[in-house]
Symmetry: C2
Subunit: 524 residues, 2 copies
């Protein structure tokens, strides 16, 4: 298709774009998270592949949300039918999917850094080619883009950044950079030439402007104004069926009763069912932009000033603020509560987004408390308990829950652990989180750990009563719950056989949670 595209005359490009758009909409009709973001850059995508000699010229996208049209015209139109399903293509850019996907992009704000790397590699090789990054206005709020612009500003190189400004990222874009004049001042202060294109959905104008920009040398930004179509919203879960829904319900009560609580989120409220809360409690819910390090330290600042700070974040993005959790919160023993959404396999978003690393690193940090509820009832009990004990906390508390369905039956009280089955077995199954509600091992006793760190004091006693401990854990790596139990045994005189079922040391592709849990052996 790309050869056909390049054979066209400029006046034929708009029809071509419309056809591509229609076909893409048709093919991904049922599953359309973020499809609007891609459709907004349909003309830009066509124009870029028309004027560039990709993949020899380097085109780097920021976040995969912009990538559906790109995928369609680089040989993956038919594959879109099976995007985000097992064996199908990814919803994001992915290097091993196509040479046209020069750099993977699941998380935001990385593209200009990658562009800097290409400039540096090409300088050593004296390799001349066009190098372009396309970054959305939402991604631009991530500090890494500033770091990259500021660094590239000092390098004598040719690089083009296209700011795709559709005035809104996943959530409402936050920040002051919301008009041409501010953007212009901003980029110029960092050493970049600034151009703008008001007609970002007119492919002919785009082609002309891009062709002109490519003839200029140096570091240039083209600020392209695009418009997102309004598609019908993607299918969402029914009320009262997910961890997200139960979390939002309980938080509504907690916020109303505790007007000093402030919840910060780096653009993740909408994806978690917290949008209505934001409308109802505008003084208490703050969307800070795509900027996890800032958000976590700002929460520490609230706590240092005697406020009640909560952070709402996805597990995969907590990876971006590990140092801030350690340095600003845990070390300073500040009472910040984290709602860690999408802990565990995340489903169709795939390997860039699985929340499988946070448990491992959180358990390694002193002064940290970690809770994993098994269902909606326990989640709500934990939220209530957290709001009660926040003043006494000496460090962060993390309440982790998956993107999964769950029920919420009769209210329960918070308990550090609970026996789900206790007979006379000499083998104990120890699990945590939602896996506790699925696990069925006929021949074993079964305890659910709501609190994974600190390990409940009773766990030591519990271990002494069994010959074999089987750990079931939706997490990666050498540590986590299994590592914590292994260390407990190592520091004791106990002679216990430890058996561990957790996620293998490989990146896991996309698929439904159920499929992935079965494939990794966590579900029978």
């Amino acid at each position: 298709m790309i050869t056909a595209l390049r054979a066209l005359e400029p006046h034929e490009l708009q029809d071509f774009t419309e056809e591509v758009k229609s076909e893409v909409i048709l093919r991904v009709k049922e599953k359309i998270p973020h499809l609007e973001s891609s459709l907004a850059v349909a003309e830009l995508t066509v124009a870029l592949h028309y004027v560039l000699n990709t993949p020899e010229d380097v085109l780097i996208w920021d976040v995969g949300h912009q990538g559906y049209i790109h995928k369609a015209i680089t040989g993956r139109m038919k594959s879109l039918n099976h995007q985000r399903t097992p064996g199908g293509i990814s919803g994001f850019l992915k290097r091993d999917e196509s040479p046209f996907d020069f750099f993977g992009a699941g998380h935001a704000s990385t593209s200009i850094s990658a562009l800097a790397g290409v400039c540096m590699a090409d300088a050593i090789k004296k390799h001349k080619r066009h190098r372009i990054a396309v970054v959305g206005d939402g991604s631009l709020t991530g500090g890494q883009t500033f770091e990259a612009l500021n660094h590239l500003g000092t390098i004598d190189t040719d690089a083009l950044v296209i700011l795709n400004d559709n005035d809104g990222s996943i959530d409402q874009t936050i920040g002051v950079l919301h008009n041409y004049q501010n953007y212009q001042s901003y980029f110029k202060s960092l050493g970049w030439e600034y151009h703008r294109c008001e007609e970002g959905n007119d492919v002919t104008i785009l082609v002309a402007q891009l062709q002109q920009a490519l003839t200029l040398g140096g570091k240039r930004v083209i600020h392209v104004k695009t418009t997102r179509p309004d598609l019908s919203p993607p299918k969402s879960y029914k009320p009262g069926t997910t961890f997200q829904w139960w979390a939002a319900e309980e938080m509504g009560l907690i916020l109303a009763a505790n007007p000093e609580i402030q919840i910060l989120s780096s653009a993740m409220f909408a994806g978690s069912g917290f949008a209505p809360l934001r409308v109802k409690h505008p003084q208490q819910l703050h969307d800070t932009g795509i900027n996890e390090p800032h958000t976590v330290t700002a929460a520490a600042g609230i706590a240092a000033a005697g406020g009640k700070a909560w952070v709402h974040i996805y597990s995969t993005f907590l990876q971006r603020a590990m140092d801030q959790v350690i340095h600003d919160i845990a070390l300073q023993e500040l009472p910040v509560i984290f709602l860690v959404d999408r802990a565990g396999f995340v489903g169709s978003d795939g390997p860039t987004h699985h929340g499988v690393f946070d448990l491992g690193f959180l358990l390694d940090i002193p002064n940290v408390t970690v809770w994993n509820p098994m269902d909606g009832s326990e989640l709500q009990a934990m939220l209530r308990k957290a709001s009660e004990i926040q003043p006494e906390l000496r460090g962060p508390l993390f309440i982790r829950y998956p993107k999964a369905r769950t029920s919420c039956d009769s209210p329960v009280d918070f308990m550090e652990y609970r026996f789900l089955k206790k007979g006379h077995s000499n083998t104990l199954l120890l699990s945590s989180g939602v896996l506790s509600s699925f696990a069925k091992e006929e021949a074993m006793d079964h305890a659910h750990l709501g609190q994974v760190k600190p390990l409940p004091a009773d766990v030591k006693r519990m271990l002494g009563q069994y010959q074999t401990i089987v750990i079931l854990e939706e997490s990666m790596g050498t540590g986590g719950l299994s590592g914590a139990v292994a260390m407990e045994i190592a520091h004791s005189d106990l002679d216990i056989k430890l058996v561990v079922r957790k996620i293998n040391d490989v990146f896991t592709e996309h698929g439904s949670r159920h499929e992935l849990l079965k494939a990794t052996g966590l579900l029978p």
Copy 2:
């Protein structure tokens, strides 16, 4: 002293400042890392405490390097004699040391985020007071400061940021923001009023400007130009005695032989003995500024473009780029080599800087290789080996070494593991890194693991030959080497008693490496 300060007339402040400076220099004469940074802001520090009602008014410093004068005039003058020694005060800002240390600051670029948190907490409580962050021009290159400025720019609040511009941070400051006009454009584009003060070492002028600025509302930046005195450099290690020195020596040879290798560092070359290499190979060593996320992704970009990227970074700052290691390098199977300096206890810098977390999280990431040399000879062998195998790597390789003395005797070849002692014991001591060279256990066999991940295939066989495995590990947490061996045993039929000696689950204060290793039981 602060009461005495506030009783002075403005014209008496310069004498006061000179006396404080002289006494501080006298007291910290022998150990003066970064003392110049504090002396450069002596007048600013005096002026701030003079016009503000600290600690009720909030004063947040960015990085502790600016904090010695602040400590002196807030009741810790005498304690400076014992700064950075066991039982003495910290070299950085620290909340539990004084109510005047409102927010801890060991790592850079966090102050404006903390300031944002204070503004948010005060808004809820309707608390009126002055709120100020002082940030150096070097710290400003960290993207978190941009995130914070951009977010605060949208909030209706009173906040003052003082940019302390002494034209140079730890290492040479990088970036384009190097003149008044660019700084002005930059701050204004993010919604901040901009003022400047050329006479940043004139306390009377500073007082007048600060008093005026405090009467204005809104978000304001004062860009203060300060001058650093030139003190004699701190005592450094003798050539040929440290891991750092041997690393730099070998890298000199490798860089000369491999002109395509590029080493990126976020302002850490100078602290690691790499400054001479930078002079000799300016095309191959790039100081990118204080911006670890960008640096790591830029290295991924170099690799994606077919270049040979190395990253030079301290363990404690690698925490800031964990997501970039996972998302941009490991997941994409890109061959980037990391020189992880200051792995393990870091000595007098203390808990903000100990490199005790990286091993735990690196071992949890798929496609990662981790090497820990026991001495200078093995470090050099690993660097040579790394440069040879870089094209075949399918993911990042981390070579971790401590801030410690070591020797470099006859050259050795790279080996995944090595028996240091082998008799007929049924107990095996398994250690890695420099601890292998100290460990002496009469009754045990002893193997050193140069490669911790992937665990050498022979380790499985090795485990089967012993009843007890003792792990000795300079790292925190539930995972790491001990977790990896525990998982290996859990996935086998072996009946082995595991004994683990590693760092307890608490933050460790400052002290010499030797003292800290003894105190934590890692050295006898």
